[in-house]
Symmetry: C2
Subunit: 239 residues, 2 copies
Protein backbone atom coordinates (compact mmCIF):
# COMPACT_ATOMS: atom_id res chain seq x y z
CA UNK A 1 0.00 0.00 0.00
CA UNK A 2 1.49 3.32 -1.00
CA UNK A 3 0.61 6.10 1.38
CA UNK A 4 -0.10 9.38 -0.32
CA UNK A 5 -0.49 11.93 2.36
CA UNK A 6 -0.60 15.59 1.66
CA UNK A 7 1.90 17.71 3.54
CA UNK A 8 -0.03 19.98 5.84
CA UNK A 9 0.99 23.36 7.13
CA UNK A 10 0.58 23.79 10.87
CA UNK A 11 -1.27 27.12 11.29
CA UNK A 12 -4.99 26.58 11.57
CA UNK A 13 -4.65 22.84 11.99
CA UNK A 14 -6.83 21.36 14.69
CA UNK A 15 -5.65 18.86 17.23
CA UNK A 16 -7.66 16.89 19.75
CA UNK A 17 -5.80 15.35 22.67
CA UNK A 18 -7.71 12.55 24.39
CA UNK A 19 -5.97 12.34 27.73
CA UNK A 20 -6.36 9.72 30.45
CA UNK A 21 -4.37 10.22 33.63
CA UNK A 22 -5.67 10.92 37.11
CA UNK A 23 -2.71 13.09 38.14
CA UNK A 24 -1.86 16.42 36.48
CA UNK A 25 1.71 16.20 37.87
CA UNK A 26 2.33 12.81 36.24
CA UNK A 27 4.59 12.33 33.24
CA UNK A 28 1.46 11.74 31.18
CA UNK A 29 0.18 15.10 32.40
CA UNK A 30 3.44 16.78 31.40
CA UNK A 31 3.45 15.08 28.00
CA UNK A 32 -0.07 16.39 27.44
CA UNK A 33 0.89 19.90 28.57
CA UNK A 34 3.95 19.96 26.35
CA UNK A 35 1.86 18.95 23.35
CA UNK A 36 -0.65 21.71 24.06
CA UNK A 37 2.18 24.22 24.40
CA UNK A 38 4.17 23.15 21.35
CA UNK A 39 1.16 22.82 19.04
CA UNK A 40 -0.25 26.16 20.21
CA UNK A 41 3.08 27.78 19.37
CA UNK A 42 2.55 26.50 15.83
CA UNK A 43 -0.83 28.27 15.84
CA UNK A 44 -2.70 25.00 15.85
CA UNK A 45 -5.98 24.99 17.66
CA UNK A 46 -5.76 22.42 20.45
CA UNK A 47 -8.63 20.83 22.36
CA UNK A 48 -8.12 18.47 25.29
CA UNK A 49 -10.58 15.84 26.45
CA UNK A 50 -9.34 15.20 29.96
CA UNK A 51 -11.30 12.02 30.57
CA UNK A 52 -10.84 11.66 34.35
CA UNK A 53 -11.61 15.33 35.00
CA UNK A 54 -14.71 14.98 32.83
CA UNK A 55 -15.60 11.80 34.74
CA UNK A 56 -16.12 10.36 31.28
CA UNK A 57 -18.56 7.44 31.22
CA UNK A 58 -16.86 4.30 29.85
CA UNK A 59 -19.89 1.98 29.95
CA UNK A 60 -21.82 1.44 26.72
CA UNK A 61 -25.42 1.27 27.88
CA UNK A 62 -28.99 2.06 26.96
CA UNK A 63 -28.45 5.50 28.51
CA UNK A 64 -26.43 6.46 25.43
CA UNK A 65 -29.62 6.60 23.42
CA UNK A 66 -32.00 9.48 24.17
CA UNK A 67 -35.66 8.54 23.85
CA UNK A 68 -37.13 5.39 22.41
CA UNK A 69 -35.13 2.43 21.26
CA UNK A 70 -35.44 0.95 17.80
CA UNK A 71 -35.92 -2.49 19.38
CA UNK A 72 -36.63 -2.37 23.08
CA UNK A 73 -37.35 -6.11 23.18
CA UNK A 74 -33.71 -7.02 22.73
CA UNK A 75 -31.11 -4.35 23.28
CA UNK A 76 -28.25 -4.34 20.78
CA UNK A 77 -25.78 -1.55 21.55
CA UNK A 78 -24.17 -1.44 18.10
CA UNK A 79 -27.46 -1.35 16.23
CA UNK A 80 -29.10 1.13 18.61
CA UNK A 81 -26.19 3.57 18.69
CA UNK A 82 -25.93 3.48 14.89
CA UNK A 83 -29.65 4.23 14.60
CA UNK A 84 -29.39 6.94 17.27
CA UNK A 85 -26.47 8.53 15.43
CA UNK A 86 -28.54 8.76 12.25
CA UNK A 87 -31.53 10.21 14.08
CA UNK A 88 -29.47 12.57 16.24
CA UNK A 89 -30.51 10.76 19.41
CA UNK A 90 -27.11 10.01 20.95
CA UNK A 91 -26.49 11.34 24.42
CA UNK A 92 -24.75 14.73 24.74
CA UNK A 93 -21.32 13.61 25.94
CA UNK A 94 -20.92 11.34 22.91
CA UNK A 95 -22.09 14.04 20.50
CA UNK A 96 -19.60 16.50 21.98
CA UNK A 97 -16.70 14.10 21.55
CA UNK A 98 -17.77 13.32 17.99
CA UNK A 99 -17.80 17.05 17.18
CA UNK A 100 -14.26 17.37 18.48
CA UNK A 101 -13.13 14.39 16.38
CA UNK A 102 -14.94 15.72 13.33
CA UNK A 103 -13.09 19.02 13.55
CA UNK A 104 -9.68 17.54 14.28
CA UNK A 105 -6.92 16.99 11.74
CA UNK A 106 -4.94 15.02 14.28
CA UNK A 107 -6.07 13.10 17.38
CA UNK A 108 -3.42 12.31 19.99
CA UNK A 109 -4.20 9.71 22.65
CA UNK A 110 -2.13 10.25 25.80
CA UNK A 111 -2.27 7.50 28.44
CA UNK A 112 -0.37 5.04 30.62
CA UNK A 113 -0.45 1.48 29.25
CA UNK A 114 -2.68 -0.61 31.54
CA UNK A 115 -2.65 -4.35 30.96
CA UNK A 116 -1.18 -4.22 27.44
CA UNK A 117 -3.88 -1.73 26.43
CA UNK A 118 -5.40 1.63 27.25
CA UNK A 119 -7.11 2.38 30.59
CA UNK A 120 -10.80 1.44 30.68
CA UNK A 121 -11.85 5.09 30.69
CA UNK A 122 -10.18 5.55 27.29
CA UNK A 123 -11.42 2.19 25.99
CA UNK A 124 -14.88 3.49 26.86
CA UNK A 125 -14.21 6.55 24.74
CA UNK A 126 -13.48 4.22 21.80
CA UNK A 127 -16.52 2.04 22.53
CA UNK A 128 -18.94 4.95 22.77
CA UNK A 129 -17.61 7.73 20.50
CA UNK A 130 -16.60 5.77 17.39
CA UNK A 131 -20.19 4.94 16.47
CA UNK A 132 -21.14 3.17 13.26
CA UNK A 133 -22.26 5.79 10.76
CA UNK A 134 -19.90 8.32 12.31
CA UNK A 135 -16.53 6.57 12.25
CA UNK A 136 -17.15 3.55 10.03
CA UNK A 137 -19.91 1.89 8.09
CA UNK A 138 -19.00 -1.40 6.48
CA UNK A 139 -17.55 -1.57 3.84
CA UNK A 140 -16.35 1.90 4.76
CA UNK A 141 -13.70 0.74 7.16
CA UNK A 142 -9.91 0.50 7.30
CA UNK A 143 -8.56 2.51 4.33
CA UNK A 144 -12.13 3.54 3.50
CA UNK A 145 -13.07 4.34 7.12
CA UNK A 146 -15.09 7.51 7.61
CA UNK A 147 -12.29 9.31 9.46
CA UNK A 148 -9.82 8.70 6.66
CA UNK A 149 -8.73 12.29 6.30
CA UNK A 150 -7.45 12.43 9.84
CA UNK A 151 -4.25 11.50 11.59
CA UNK A 152 -4.01 9.66 14.90
CA UNK A 153 -1.14 9.02 17.25
CA UNK A 154 -0.81 6.94 20.43
CA UNK A 155 1.45 8.51 23.04
CA UNK A 156 1.88 6.37 26.12
CA UNK A 157 4.03 5.37 29.06
CA UNK A 158 4.75 1.79 30.12
CA UNK A 159 5.55 0.00 33.36
CA UNK A 160 7.96 -2.48 31.79
CA UNK A 161 11.18 -1.37 30.15
CA UNK A 162 12.19 -1.53 26.51
CA UNK A 163 14.03 -4.84 26.92
CA UNK A 164 10.93 -6.49 28.38
CA UNK A 165 8.96 -5.21 25.38
CA UNK A 166 11.42 -6.55 22.82
CA UNK A 167 10.91 -9.63 20.67
CA UNK A 168 12.70 -11.96 23.07
CA UNK A 169 11.55 -10.13 26.20
CA UNK A 170 8.95 -11.47 28.66
CA UNK A 171 6.31 -9.00 27.49
CA UNK A 172 6.96 -9.62 23.79
CA UNK A 173 7.47 -7.04 21.04
CA UNK A 174 5.69 -3.76 21.84
CA UNK A 175 4.32 -3.89 18.28
CA UNK A 176 2.05 -6.78 19.33
CA UNK A 177 0.35 -4.51 21.84
CA UNK A 178 -0.18 -1.83 19.22
CA UNK A 179 -2.17 -4.04 16.84
CA UNK A 180 -5.62 -3.89 18.49
CA UNK A 181 -5.31 -0.17 19.22
CA UNK A 182 -3.72 1.09 16.02
CA UNK A 183 -5.18 -1.39 13.56
CA UNK A 184 -8.41 -2.54 15.22
CA UNK A 185 -9.54 0.86 16.51
CA UNK A 186 -7.80 3.69 14.65
CA UNK A 187 -7.08 2.24 11.23
CA UNK A 188 -10.48 0.54 11.25
CA UNK A 189 -12.02 4.02 11.31
CA UNK A 190 -9.76 5.20 8.52
CA UNK A 191 -7.30 7.20 10.63
CA UNK A 192 -3.81 7.46 9.16
CA UNK A 193 -1.67 6.32 12.07
CA UNK A 194 1.54 8.14 12.93
CA UNK A 195 4.31 6.21 14.69
CA UNK A 196 3.57 5.83 18.42
CA UNK A 197 5.39 7.91 21.01
CA UNK A 198 6.44 5.49 23.73
CA UNK A 199 8.06 6.42 27.04
CA UNK A 200 9.33 3.19 28.52
CA UNK A 201 9.20 2.73 32.25
CA UNK A 202 9.47 6.38 33.37
CA UNK A 203 8.83 5.41 37.00
CA UNK A 204 12.13 3.57 37.12
CA UNK A 205 14.12 6.24 35.30
CA UNK A 206 16.03 9.23 36.61
CA UNK A 207 14.54 12.72 36.68
CA UNK A 208 16.99 13.66 33.93
CA UNK A 209 15.83 10.82 31.72
CA UNK A 210 12.19 11.81 32.28
CA UNK A 211 12.99 15.38 31.24
CA UNK A 212 14.61 13.98 28.13
CA UNK A 213 11.37 12.14 27.34
CA UNK A 214 9.50 15.45 27.43
CA UNK A 215 12.08 17.20 25.27
CA UNK A 216 12.05 14.39 22.71
CA UNK A 217 8.26 14.65 22.43
CA UNK A 218 8.36 18.44 22.09
CA UNK A 219 11.04 18.13 19.40
CA UNK A 220 9.04 15.57 17.47
CA UNK A 221 5.94 17.75 17.53
CA UNK A 222 7.82 20.58 15.79
CA UNK A 223 7.82 18.56 12.56
CA UNK A 224 4.79 16.34 13.20
CA UNK A 225 2.92 17.66 10.14
CA UNK A 226 5.71 16.49 7.88
CA UNK A 227 5.55 12.91 9.10
CA UNK A 228 4.30 10.13 6.93
CA UNK A 229 1.87 7.66 8.50
CA UNK A 230 3.03 4.11 9.16
CA UNK A 231 2.06 1.37 6.77
CA UNK A 232 -0.62 -0.11 8.99
CA UNK A 233 -0.50 -3.71 7.75
CA UNK A 234 0.26 -6.97 9.62
CA UNK A 235 3.85 -6.79 8.39
CA UNK A 236 4.47 -3.61 10.36
CA UNK A 237 3.41 -5.36 13.59
CA UNK A 238 4.51 -8.96 13.25
CA UNK A 239 7.88 -8.87 11.57
CA UNK B 1 7.57 -24.94 28.33
CA UNK B 2 5.89 -28.17 29.34
CA UNK B 3 2.55 -27.66 30.98
CA UNK B 4 1.94 -30.00 33.88
CA UNK B 5 -1.58 -29.48 34.96
CA UNK B 6 -3.31 -31.71 37.43
CA UNK B 7 -6.51 -33.26 36.24
CA UNK B 8 -9.29 -31.89 38.37
CA UNK B 9 -12.57 -33.52 39.23
CA UNK B 10 -15.59 -31.31 38.72
CA UNK B 11 -17.63 -31.66 41.94
CA UNK B 12 -16.80 -28.92 44.40
CA UNK B 13 -14.85 -26.90 41.84
CA UNK B 14 -15.57 -23.21 41.86
CA UNK B 15 -16.16 -21.15 38.77
CA UNK B 16 -16.46 -17.39 38.43
CA UNK B 17 -18.08 -16.04 35.27
CA UNK B 18 -17.29 -12.39 34.59
CA UNK B 19 -20.01 -11.42 32.20
CA UNK B 20 -20.37 -8.22 30.18
CA UNK B 21 -23.47 -7.87 28.05
CA UNK B 22 -26.32 -5.40 28.45
CA UNK B 23 -29.01 -7.77 27.16
CA UNK B 24 -29.99 -11.01 28.92
CA UNK B 25 -31.58 -12.29 25.68
CA UNK B 26 -28.34 -11.85 23.70
CA UNK B 27 -26.19 -14.77 22.57
CA UNK B 28 -23.67 -13.71 25.21
CA UNK B 29 -26.44 -13.96 27.79
CA UNK B 30 -27.34 -17.45 26.56
CA UNK B 31 -23.71 -18.56 26.55
CA UNK B 32 -23.43 -17.39 30.15
CA UNK B 33 -26.66 -19.17 31.14
CA UNK B 34 -25.59 -22.38 29.50
CA UNK B 35 -22.29 -22.30 31.35
CA UNK B 36 -24.07 -21.77 34.68
CA UNK B 37 -26.41 -24.64 33.87
CA UNK B 38 -23.82 -27.10 32.63
CA UNK B 39 -21.29 -26.40 35.39
CA UNK B 40 -23.99 -26.58 38.07
CA UNK B 41 -24.99 -29.99 36.72
CA UNK B 42 -21.42 -31.06 37.38
CA UNK B 43 -21.88 -29.89 40.99
CA UNK B 44 -19.50 -27.01 40.50
CA UNK B 45 -20.24 -23.90 42.48
CA UNK B 46 -20.80 -21.06 40.00
CA UNK B 47 -20.71 -17.33 40.71
CA UNK B 48 -21.57 -14.71 38.09
CA UNK B 49 -20.34 -11.12 38.10
CA UNK B 50 -22.85 -9.52 35.78
CA UNK B 51 -20.97 -6.27 35.24
CA UNK B 52 -23.70 -4.17 33.59
CA UNK B 53 -26.32 -5.23 36.13
CA UNK B 54 -23.87 -4.38 38.90
CA UNK B 55 -23.17 -1.06 37.17
CA UNK B 56 -19.56 -2.01 37.72
CA UNK B 57 -17.24 1.01 37.90
CA UNK B 58 -14.57 0.79 35.17
CA UNK B 59 -12.63 3.95 36.09
CA UNK B 60 -9.48 3.55 38.17
CA UNK B 61 -9.56 6.56 40.47
CA UNK B 62 -8.67 7.84 43.89
CA UNK B 63 -12.10 6.60 45.07
CA UNK B 64 -10.75 3.04 44.97
CA UNK B 65 -8.68 3.78 48.06
CA UNK B 66 -10.60 4.21 51.32
CA UNK B 67 -9.08 6.77 53.65
CA UNK B 68 -5.73 8.52 53.35
CA UNK B 69 -3.41 8.14 50.44
CA UNK B 70 0.20 7.09 50.80
CA UNK B 71 1.20 10.10 48.70
CA UNK B 72 -1.55 12.63 48.25
CA UNK B 73 0.84 15.10 46.61
CA UNK B 74 1.08 13.05 43.43
CA UNK B 75 -1.51 10.34 42.84
CA UNK B 76 -0.14 7.10 41.41
CA UNK B 77 -2.94 4.55 40.93
CA UNK B 78 -0.69 1.49 40.76
CA UNK B 79 1.30 2.40 43.86
CA UNK B 80 -1.74 3.49 45.86
CA UNK B 81 -3.86 0.46 45.04
CA UNK B 82 -0.97 -1.85 45.89
CA UNK B 83 -0.51 -0.11 49.24
CA UNK B 84 -4.27 -0.12 49.85
CA UNK B 85 -4.41 -3.85 49.10
CA UNK B 86 -1.76 -4.54 51.72
CA UNK B 87 -3.48 -2.37 54.30
CA UNK B 88 -6.98 -3.62 53.49
CA UNK B 89 -8.08 -0.18 52.31
CA UNK B 90 -9.41 -1.00 48.85
CA UNK B 91 -13.01 -0.07 48.16
CA UNK B 92 -15.69 -2.72 48.73
CA UNK B 93 -16.54 -3.58 45.12
CA UNK B 94 -12.90 -4.41 44.36
CA UNK B 95 -12.54 -6.49 47.52
CA UNK B 96 -15.66 -8.46 46.64
CA UNK B 97 -14.39 -9.27 43.16
CA UNK B 98 -11.00 -10.27 44.54
CA UNK B 99 -12.70 -12.67 46.98
CA UNK B 100 -14.57 -14.29 44.10
CA UNK B 101 -11.33 -14.66 42.11
CA UNK B 102 -9.49 -16.01 45.13
CA UNK B 103 -12.06 -18.74 45.58
CA UNK B 104 -12.34 -19.67 41.92
CA UNK B 105 -10.59 -22.57 40.24
CA UNK B 106 -11.66 -21.29 36.84
CA UNK B 107 -12.61 -17.80 35.70
CA UNK B 108 -14.60 -17.49 32.46
CA UNK B 109 -14.86 -14.10 30.78
CA UNK B 110 -17.99 -13.84 28.62
CA UNK B 111 -18.24 -10.78 26.36
CA UNK B 112 -18.72 -9.41 22.85
CA UNK B 113 -15.47 -8.30 21.23
CA UNK B 114 -15.47 -4.49 21.06
CA UNK B 115 -12.71 -2.89 19.01
CA UNK B 116 -10.41 -5.94 18.99
CA UNK B 117 -10.66 -6.11 22.77
CA UNK B 118 -13.11 -6.46 25.66
CA UNK B 119 -15.78 -3.83 26.42
CA UNK B 120 -14.56 -1.00 28.67
CA UNK B 121 -16.63 -2.25 31.60
CA UNK B 122 -14.66 -5.51 31.57
CA UNK B 123 -11.36 -3.75 30.93
CA UNK B 124 -12.15 -1.75 34.06
CA UNK B 125 -12.58 -5.01 35.97
CA UNK B 126 -9.04 -5.97 34.88
CA UNK B 127 -7.65 -2.51 35.71
CA UNK B 128 -9.21 -2.37 39.18
CA UNK B 129 -9.45 -5.97 40.44
CA UNK B 130 -6.07 -7.41 39.42
CA UNK B 131 -4.17 -5.28 41.94
CA UNK B 132 -0.45 -5.63 42.54
CA UNK B 133 0.03 -7.74 45.65
CA UNK B 134 -3.17 -9.64 44.89
CA UNK B 135 -2.66 -10.87 41.31
CA UNK B 136 1.02 -10.20 40.66
CA UNK B 137 4.04 -8.73 42.35
CA UNK B 138 7.14 -8.53 40.20
CA UNK B 139 9.00 -10.89 39.78
CA UNK B 140 5.89 -12.89 40.62
CA UNK B 141 4.28 -12.54 37.24
CA UNK B 142 3.62 -14.70 34.18
CA UNK B 143 4.36 -18.33 35.18
CA UNK B 144 5.02 -17.11 38.72
CA UNK B 145 1.96 -14.84 38.86
CA UNK B 146 0.01 -14.95 42.12
CA UNK B 147 -3.06 -16.55 40.49
CA UNK B 148 -1.01 -19.41 39.07
CA UNK B 149 -3.18 -22.16 40.45
CA UNK B 150 -6.21 -20.97 38.53
CA UNK B 151 -7.56 -21.46 35.06
CA UNK B 152 -8.98 -18.71 32.84
CA UNK B 153 -10.91 -18.80 29.59
CA UNK B 154 -12.08 -16.08 27.22
CA UNK B 155 -15.48 -16.78 25.67
CA UNK B 156 -16.56 -14.13 23.20
CA UNK B 157 -18.57 -13.23 20.15
CA UNK B 158 -17.28 -11.19 17.22
CA UNK B 159 -18.77 -8.85 14.64
CA UNK B 160 -16.51 -9.97 11.81
CA UNK B 161 -16.58 -13.51 10.47
CA UNK B 162 -13.90 -16.18 10.65
CA UNK B 163 -12.49 -15.36 7.23
CA UNK B 164 -11.99 -11.71 8.19
CA UNK B 165 -10.14 -12.89 11.30
CA UNK B 166 -7.83 -15.22 9.38
CA UNK B 167 -4.19 -14.55 8.59
CA UNK B 168 -4.89 -13.06 5.17
CA UNK B 169 -8.19 -11.46 6.23
CA UNK B 170 -8.72 -7.72 6.71
CA UNK B 171 -8.89 -8.04 10.50
CA UNK B 172 -5.82 -10.28 10.71
CA UNK B 173 -5.42 -13.54 12.60
CA UNK B 174 -7.74 -13.70 15.65
CA UNK B 175 -4.71 -14.85 17.64
CA UNK B 176 -3.26 -11.32 17.38
CA UNK B 177 -6.26 -9.97 19.26
CA UNK B 178 -5.84 -12.57 21.99
CA UNK B 179 -2.28 -11.59 22.90
CA UNK B 180 -2.96 -8.55 25.13
CA UNK B 181 -5.89 -10.25 26.85
CA UNK B 182 -4.54 -13.78 27.32
CA UNK B 183 -0.86 -13.00 27.68
CA UNK B 184 -0.81 -9.43 28.98
CA UNK B 185 -3.66 -9.75 31.45
CA UNK B 186 -4.35 -13.39 32.32
CA UNK B 187 -0.99 -15.09 31.91
CA UNK B 188 0.70 -12.06 33.49
CA UNK B 189 -1.22 -12.88 36.69
CA UNK B 190 -0.26 -16.55 36.45
CA UNK B 191 -3.57 -17.88 35.14
CA UNK B 192 -3.29 -21.04 33.06
CA UNK B 193 -5.19 -20.08 29.92
CA UNK B 194 -7.59 -22.52 28.30
CA UNK B 195 -8.26 -22.21 24.56
CA UNK B 196 -10.71 -19.39 23.83
CA UNK B 197 -14.32 -20.10 22.91
CA UNK B 198 -15.08 -17.89 19.93
CA UNK B 199 -18.47 -17.44 18.27
CA UNK B 200 -17.81 -15.69 15.00
CA UNK B 201 -20.34 -13.22 13.76
CA UNK B 202 -23.52 -14.62 15.36
CA UNK B 203 -25.54 -11.59 14.23
CA UNK B 204 -25.09 -12.62 10.63
CA UNK B 205 -25.75 -16.30 11.18
CA UNK B 206 -28.98 -18.29 11.09
CA UNK B 207 -30.93 -19.15 14.22
CA UNK B 208 -29.88 -22.75 13.71
CA UNK B 209 -26.22 -21.83 13.58
CA UNK B 210 -26.58 -19.77 16.75
CA UNK B 211 -28.16 -22.73 18.54
CA UNK B 212 -25.23 -24.83 17.38
CA UNK B 213 -22.88 -22.31 19.00
CA UNK B 214 -24.66 -22.83 22.32
CA UNK B 215 -24.58 -26.62 21.99
CA UNK B 216 -20.89 -26.62 21.13
CA UNK B 217 -20.13 -24.57 24.24
CA UNK B 218 -22.25 -26.81 26.47
CA UNK B 219 -20.50 -29.88 25.03
CA UNK B 220 -17.07 -28.43 25.62
CA UNK B 221 -17.90 -27.61 29.23
CA UNK B 222 -18.68 -31.27 29.94
CA UNK B 223 -14.98 -32.08 29.70
CA UNK B 224 -13.53 -28.68 30.53
CA UNK B 225 -11.65 -29.99 33.60
CA UNK B 226 -9.74 -32.43 31.45
CA UNK B 227 -8.41 -29.74 29.12
CA UNK B 228 -4.77 -28.79 29.09
CA UNK B 229 -3.97 -25.07 29.04
CA UNK B 230 -2.49 -23.55 25.91
CA UNK B 231 1.20 -22.91 25.74
CA UNK B 232 0.94 -19.16 26.27
CA UNK B 233 4.10 -18.08 24.43
CA UNK B 234 4.57 -15.76 21.42
CA UNK B 235 4.72 -18.81 19.15
CA UNK B 236 1.11 -19.71 19.97
CA UNK B 237 -0.04 -16.26 18.84
CA UNK B 238 2.25 -15.26 15.99
CA UNK B 239 2.81 -18.39 13.94
Amino acid sequence: MTQCFQKMAAPGRKVLIVYAHQEPKSLNGSLKNIAVEELSKQSCSVTVSDLYSMEFEPRATRNDIVGCLHNSEQFNYGAESWEAYRKGCLTTDIVEEQKKVQEADLVIFQFPLYWFSMPAIMKGWMDRVLTQGFAHNFPDCFDAGLLKNKLALLSFTTGGNEEMYSKGGISGDIHYVLWPMQHGMLHFCGFKVLAPQICFSPEYETEEKRKEMLTTWAQRLKTIWEEKPINCTPEWYFR
